[in-house]
Amino acid sequence: MDFLTSPDFWILTGSSLAKTLFIIFAVVLPMVSYTVYAERRVSALIQDRLGPNRTGFPISLLGAKKDWSPFLGGLGQPIADAVKFLLKEDFVPAHVNKFYFWIAPALSMMPALITLAAIPFGSTFLGFPMVVANINVGILFMFAISSVSVYGIVLAGWSSNSKYPFLGGIRSSSQMISYELGMGLSAVPVLLIAGSTSLPKIVEYQVQNGWMLLPYSNGHFGWAKTLLWIPVVIAFVTFTISMFAETNRLPFDLPESETELVAGYHTEYSSMKFALFFLGEYTAMIAGSALIVVLFLGGYHFPGIPNGAGEGGLLPFHFAPGSGSAMIYSAICGLVNITVFFGKVAALLFVFIWIRWTLPRFRYDQLMKLGWLYLFEIALVNIFLTAGILAFTH
């Protein structure tokens, strides 16, 4: 009770609220809409087309002389899309199960946003750790919440009361069962090496001992690290493949598969409800990429850049602790850390898009076979491999 009335409680609440607002409204939602734009643009470039290159910002409506369409063209497209989705008729077919039909889009969007709470998207900024919820079972939280998003798809498929969404929903649930295992198990080697399930601690371990995938990034060579790199690479590959399945991206977009199931689980949806499914998919992509960055790619750390307290790094700046310039320096470092993190996430999102426009869709039985017969076993053996190496070298 003392904590609830103390100023610490209000500082914690206020800073968490500020961080939540920042990460959701200033970073992730714009990132989602521009990922959709990037998806359209990159897919076009890969297929020798141009993609949406027309829509600019109609600032001539506000009195400017010319509309503003910056260098690439089409940067106003996400805004136009959003306006279109908001203004379209929200049609609910008569044959659907209304309650679940309404709750499904929210269930597909919200888990993706909630999982972002546990992601450390920066080191510290003005002394506050840049993670909304610093929980010591962060990775379990991520897995638990992100698997809720399958309910959105299954409920959408079931409540639509029509055959194609139904097939999509069935596919989604079985896909989820086959991939959750492999995904959870392939993250275990990282947890073994870092010795923690708290995501900020995993990142701190990588800052100290080199990234999981680039073990020499802290400038030190070590035999144990080199040996451990082998299971880490295997874990990275299996984890990334499972993440593609988790976020329903090609080559595992069986719930949606436009060519077979019209539009899969969201066939009967229109307007903003459809947009929520769409945004949910991309938010899940961002959350998934963020998790990969945290687990394997060193989180906010970049070799040579100091952390949010201005410590470490290659630049020889040393300020008296507590002085104004030290404050500004550490604040700038904190911002750079955040930028590095989202830069890595953006690079991974590009890989997601790149793979989507390269690979064809897996057949249904191939997907189940891959999940149950290969990824699960590889991840399981990989745990014992990691544990063995750790036992012999530490």
Binding site: V42, L45, I46, Q47, D48, R49, L50, V237, W354, I355, W357, T358, L359
Partner: protein, 177 residues
């Protein structure tokens, strides 16, 4: 009964892994992306900025228009042959007499109203072929647009504006035209 047993290909270990072919495919797509970014891939014409005008063949049949001769006289004498031959009946002509005090009084007739309904026009060029006075020509305008049906009816003023002046004796039967 002919039965064919299609042999399954024996996949090598590398092919079964599937990952090498994924990377090969990814290299192909990224090369396409790189070529696009460098501008080495030809893309379709960016229409409103680039237009067909420079690529139009000499014999292109665009919008039908009326022309004046080098004295500023409208060549049309309102014989209505084009109106009669027009397959979709897009042309409507109301003739009138040229008043006696006019410089061109001896021509006797001119169109009072000359309307071509561009929604009906099929750009066949029969009006141009049939015209004894070489007064109607198909120009190269192809983007005829309007926001109403009334706007899509080209009246006399609009037709002369599009057509302009045609000097001298124009050889209409030029095989390329």
């Amino acid at each position: 009964m002919a039965t064919y047993v299609v042999p399954r290909p024996n996949l090598t270990w590398k092919e079964k892994m599937y990952l090498p072919s994924i990377f090969a495919g990814m290299m192909i797509t990224i090369n396409h992306l790189k070529r696009m970014l460098k501008g080495e891939t030809k893309v379709v014409m960016q229409y409103p900025e680039e237009k067909w005008d420079a690529h139009m063949p000499e014999h292109y049949r665009g919008a039908p228009t009326l022309v004046k001769d080098d004295h500023g006289r409208e060549r049309c004498v309102a014989c209505q042959l084009c109106e009669f031959i027009c397959p979709p009946r897009a042309i409507t002509i109301k003739p009138e007499e040229i008043p006696a005090e006019s410089k061109f009084a001896k021509v006797e007739k001119r169109p009072k109203e000359f309307e071509i309904d561009m929604i009906r026009c099929i750009y066949c060029g029969l009006c141009e072929e049939v015209c004894p006075e070489q007064a109607i020509f198909l120009r190269k305008d192809y983007a005829i647009t309007g926001t109403s049906r009334a706007e899509m009816k080209h009246d006399k003023a609009k037709l002369y504006e599009l057509g302009g002046v045609m000097d001298g004796l124009v050889n209409k039967w030029n095989p390329l035209k």
